[in-house]
Amino acid sequence: MTDVACDDCLRRTDLVAALAAWLDVEWRRRSAPAGVLSLPDETLIALEGTGRAARRYAAFSPERARRRIATAGLSAVCRCRATYPGRLRDLADPPAVLHIAGHPAALEQTDSVAIVGARRGTAYGLEVARALGGGLAAAGVPVVSGMAMGVDSAAHIGALEHTLGARSHPRETEAGTATTEAPPAASATHAGHIPAPARAAPPVAVLAGGADVPYPASRRRLHARIVEYGCVVSELPPGFTAYRWCFVARNRIIAGLAALTVVVEAAERSGSLTTADFAEQIGRAVGAVPGPVTSRFSGGTNALLAAGAGVVRDTRDVLDQLLGPSAPSPDELPEAVPIEPRLRRLLDAIERGHGSLAELTSDPDATHQVLQDLTDLELRGLARREFGGRYVRALEGRR
């Protein structure tokens, strides 16, 4: 492990961490110099100006940093090494060191796709993110995201659902037991071995704080699952608590790692649009999922589309944009199964957003049939029952 992160890069990382609080203030005042993370160490120290950073910089011990990384169960790779993901070098300010929890091999695949979006996702956004995550994992394309609430988590969950195979499910509520079966294989000795079905792609999460600290804390089980089957990476040292600017800095890593960035749902001024901006800056493709023009939660994605981003309707659209129109179709693309007219009418109503029982029928005597049909649609993967009892169109049928 000691051979994959050099002293200089570790020192640089320590400096950035030490400057984090100062940078946060500057960033909020919008007075941080442009491209601040690409400035050389000396300039950064001079900018901070109190001399505290300079003293810490001089006293830095690479051995202690390596010990901390090892104690946290992480591995590290710096930008001077060949194993460093080459795609990140396109960034103007590639992270000096990547701290990795889980399997570093997960970063090797080049054709990964970032799925990002608002933390406050609507049912529609979450459903699409989950379907895309699952579809891409099925097609062997790693999904990169930020593990935030809402769309990010839904994408990870979708990918994990596929990775874990037939329906043993990585829900937050029940994942606790499953993570204890197999100890999180975070140590470097396991590096390179991914205990997942050969076809499924490993999930990759990029965190704003330390890679060993699940953020948000409510996603700790998801974190454990991603560490187990893929990897969680961060540019900041273990145990580091994120400042606000770190989330934007994290977005540049997501954009850098992915060959294509898909924004699922974002309002006009959503933070997830910065990921798309970064992707555009380094010349990577950007896709967006169209949303209703009346919904402010889709304002940002619709604006991206207007500006020329690729339209993403399903997994096939993503694969087309990623690999060209001749992309192999994903395994699980099912045939459109014809359904009875009665179910069709029910499904049409659900698609129009009339998913509650009272909207689906006005005849109390016919309700029993409707109830039965709803379960039928659910069993066929065409509809999904939300918490409370509203039915929505499921995308599982058309990944």
Binding site: S356, P364, T367, E386, G388
Partner: protein, 505 residues
């Protein structure tokens, strides 16, 4: 004669305990002492008793009076001891004879003029009278009808201290008891299902909840009719048996909630979400029944479930399972009967405006859903979304009348009663996992339908049981002995999916 004994009762939780009121009069400086763990309202009774005796034309003895309330360890509360105290003083001073008081329990509050005022818990007292083998009970006339619900005892209702004494002496006939079980409950007042428009599709969900006693969850934006639907659930439940009616009357009487008649409508209680744990399940130094107990044999409606304090909901969990609230105080345990159908309602998000206009942040939503997924959802079998009805639906046909739906429910309940005979249970919602296996009578196909759902939707074991219980009720409503796959499918479309919360958060 300087010593007298009068029987009385005090309320202890939801029961009446016998209390002996002993009065002793002896020569000495005029004084009036009450001993025997009496609370302030009982000690204040001295002034009321003195005035009432004098103003009723009797003589208040100018001697040393000591009244003892036995047993001394039991705390005596409330103004119900005024009348027994007055009669004890009159008997001890020779203005009444012991024979005239023999075997008669007395309870009632006095005004300064000697008028006898109504007290709480008359029915519980009457039951205590019967339990202790006493022959008669003398109480305020306003509560006579209530006490007369208890058979085999003579109930004397009086309005004035003078009347009480004269009746005891046999100088006048006891006043007739005002129309026992007066049909005061106008059936028109009860909210009826036919008032509801635009929610016809939800009628079967209410029907299932009522038929199987299943707890119900209504999820939807504000103003769509969640409360309106919940209010109509009691009208769908089968009429109370006379035993149930008496039980409810006793509880409501103790809480001072009713007008002295038999409660015939199933109670509907909807406590506000700021209620404390002890307000909800009962409590206090001298435990009083809470809202859950007042909803016994009826419906407890918790609107804005996510806004209730966590301790209050936690406290409700066990009672929902056991059918009673157990309150433990230093030296004793009290049980309040609490067999309720719970209806919980919640907005989809804290601001309640729904998907398009919602202002809530991701963190707000996560908190809302975390609070929802709390202790009570485990106990809920049926869940439906209540949407905003369209204009066409509002103009359309109204829901069927409660009476029509109730007939089917009564029939389904009868099937359940027959099947559950000997288990001590009354409805499908109470089936435990083991009984469910033995009694659900699901066909092999139904079981495989359930497993198909299980695989597809990652049901928890609990979710599994819920679907089977609801399917059992659907089969009962359909008049089927066996649970068939279509019942399972219908039940699945009414399930409460506690696991779909986490993704949305």
């Amino acid at each position: 004669m300087s010593l007298a004994l009068v029987d009385s009762f005090t309320l202890d939780g939801v029961d009446a305990r016998r209390v002996w009121v002993e009065a002793d009069i002896r020569k000495g400086l005029p004084a009036f002492a009450v001993v025997g763990l009496a609370d302030k309202s009982v000690r204040e009774a001295r002034e009321r008793v003195r005035a009432a005796i004098v103003n009723s034309g009797f003589v208040f003895p100018q001697d040393r009076i000591t009244v003892n309330l036995a047993p001394a360890h039991l705390r005596k509360i409330g103004p119900g001891f005024d009348l027994p105290l007055a009669l004890a003083v009159l008997a001890a001073s020779g203005q009444l004879t012991p024979d005239e008081l023999a075997g008669c329990a007395v309870i009632g509050e006095l005004s300064l003029t000697g008028e006898v005022r109504a007290v709480r818990g008359a029915l519980a007292v009457a039951e205590g009278v019967r339990r202790h083998g006493l022959a008669r009970v003398l109480l305020p006339r306003a509560r006579a009808a209530e006490a007369a619900l208890v058979p085999e005892i003579e109930v004397i209702g009086v309005e004035h201290l003078q009347e009480a004494v004269e009746t005891l002496r046999g100088e006048r006939e006891p006043a007739p008891i005002p129309g026992v079980v007066a049909a005061a409950t106008a059936p028109l007042e009860e909210p009826d299902l036919s008032d509801v428009r635009g929610h016809n599709g939800l009628v079967p969900a209410l029907e299932v909840a009522a038929a199987g006693g299943h707890n119900l969850f209504l999820h939807g934006p504000p103003g769509t009719g969640k409360t309106m639907l919940a209010r109509r659930l009691p009208s769908l439940l089968p009429p109370m048996t006379s035993h149930e009616a008496i039980e409810v009357t006793r509880l409501h009487s103790i809480a001072g909630l009713h007008d002295g008649n038999l409660v015939q409508r199933r109670p509907f209680r909807s406590p506000h979400h700021t209620i404390s744990a002890s307000g909800l399940v009962g409590g206090g130094g001298q435990p009083n029944p809470g809202e859950a107990t007042l909803a016994h044999h009826g419906v407890l409606f918790l609107d804005e479930l996510s806004e209730f304090a966590r301790p209050a909901l936690e406290a409700l969990r066990q009672p929902l399972e056991d059918g009673q609230v157990t309150i433990v105080r230093a030296q004793r345990v009290m049980a309040f009967p609490t067999r309720v159908t719970l209806v919980a309602a919640s907005n989809p998000c804290p601001c309640g405006l729904g998907d398009a206009a919602c202002h809530c942040s991701a963190a707000d939503l996560a908190r809302h859903q975390r609070r929802l997924s709390g202790p009570l959802l485990d106990r809920i079998d049926v869940s439906v979304t209540v949407g905003r009805p369209s204009a066409a639906a509002l103009r359309g046909q109204a829901a069927p009348a409660s009476e029509v739906v109730r007939e089917r429910i009564v029939a389904a309940r009868e099937r359940q009663t027959a099947r559950l005979a000997g288990t001590g249970l009354t409805c499908n919602a109470q089936l435990t996992a083991r009984l469910l296996r033995d009694l659900s009578r699901a066909t092999v196909e139904a079981h495989s339908a359930l497993y198909a759902l299980h695989d597809r939707n990652r049901l928890s074991a609990r979710g599994h049981g819920r679907i089977l219980r609801v399917a059992r009720t659907l089969a009962d409503l359909a008049g089927c002995d066996a649970v068939r796959p279509d019942h399972i499918h219908q039940a699945a479309a009414l399930r409460l999916d506690d696991q779909s919360i986490s993704l949305a958060a």
